[in-house]
Amino acid sequence: MREAEPALNGTGLNGASSSVQAVPDKIVTPCPRCRDLTLRRELEKTLMICPRCGYHHRLTAKQRITYLVDDITAFQEYDRDLTPQDPLHFVSRAQVYATKLKENQNETELSEAVVGGIGTIEGIRVSLAVMDFHFIGGSMGMVAGERLARAMDRAADMAIPLIICSASGGARMQENIFSLFQLAKTSATLTRLRNVKMPYISVLTDPTTGGVTASFASLGDVILAEPNAMVGFAGPRVIEQAIHQRLPSGTDTSEFVLEHGMIDAVVDRRSLRETIARILRFYTAS
């Protein structure tokens, strides 16, 4: 199962049956930072960046992939039929995990919080995996982890660079230790890339917190983050609750982790694609 195989179900992201879709249509979108209202149409032209304050709106997996690869129609999605399980048969207090999964699948038209596949960025073939926060908060389900691990395997098997765009609130309670162990699984699988001397670029997007930061997201050979994204293990709210103290503003943002030596650069979404290509050329061009 560790070999890179083409997607089992014909169509990819671009096909009619695609499981990746834009967030629900709305005519205007409010900016969470400056409160400005922008026409959805306009916002999509600016890569979902607020034209007034520069706020980087959260993207769907489909948007993210579209913005990164040369040609979304040539992006080959994998593992879409690898769908989430309910390993604990989690039912408690009107919370039925199986139902929640269905609901999220319907709302997002994703089957899990991770979309993985192969595409090109400025002509360079990469294994790309993208997390979608809209799917149960981008939490690490067993199959989300497996899809990430398979994206790593594909990079190793094909000897191509790996790019993972993280967006996650952390663990998926309803899978408990199955969720937790994905951190170990993904961290372990990354070691395969060492043998093929291909880089792993980790891109942190708003928000990347919890277990994801305590595993693959922090293990990039190069780590980039979008401006002002929430990035950290606990996130400021959890810390404030835990220590009953206010934190300095800016704690656990991209800029905070840059200052503390955890990442290489904060990159505006408008230059992300080009920056990634520039970095990749150091490893792939001779």
Binding site: F181, L183, A184, A188, L190, A214, F216, L219, I243, H260
Partner: protein, 321 residues
Amino acid sequence: MSYELEFEKPLQAIDKEIQNLKKRGDRLRPEDQTKIAVLERELAQRTAEIYAKLTPWQRVLVARHKDRPYTADYIRLLCTDYFELRGDRRFGDDRAIIGGLASIDGRHVVILGHQKGRDTKEKIEANFGMAHPEGYRKAARLMRHAEQFGFPVISLVDTAGAMLDLSAEERGISESIAENLQLMAILRTPIVVAIIGEGGSGGALGIGVGDRVLMLENSVYTVAAPEAAASILWKDSNFAPQAAEAMKITAPELLQLGLVDRVVPEPLGGAHRDHHAMADQLRQALTAELNELCDLPLDVLCARRYEKWRMVGIPASVAAV
């Protein structure tokens, strides 16, 4: 020994009666002695009954019991010799994770684990077992040391989670755990992990990857504390018992799910009732595992460990895809 847990109250009543009788000392009548024997049998029986049907939440309470043996206790009880290695060589010596060179059953190992702290002073020093980045980096140093010199690693997990404060974020708590996950996945020496009390989230996993993962009978392993899970799922931490139930956090459940490899039985009434008996059980389990692991060629050991974690928890139906 006190009975502090609510569900142990029936035991306390019997125990009190026994203690009262025993107080008579020399004045103890033969019928008292019979009575004591009867009561002690009853105490044992009732204890066994209660502990046989602990709810997951009750197990959480046992796992967090203030008299439960901690890493330092196991080191004292298990090791015939021990030399503590301190510091991460970078920033500090985190007392929330301790470890060093040890001899167990004639075998030289590196042992390490979370230390919650027994008395108030030690609790504060140890930050209640919640480690900062320097704790995980110290653990990494000790594990690399073990690899370099061919010592197997024993890692004892007992933490509510990694430390959540500004200084932990500033120094990269996530990076420190992530790096350990990777290190432990490929370390070229056997690693046996035992969850001895609370296995709390990334903070537990940060020293929790190995060839074998053992759980003490009343230990628990959670991706988030039941209180936190209840808060997130139902906005009310009072539903922690329900969360504990639904999340399958106990040793027998996790063994059945194939997520851990062995349950180490605890003495009657829980590990906190008899540290020596508990340490004996743990020693036997560790030695059994190490005997097997140390016989494997390193390449085989490492390939198996990689496979174990690469495939962890993937049901056959998924693995087949």
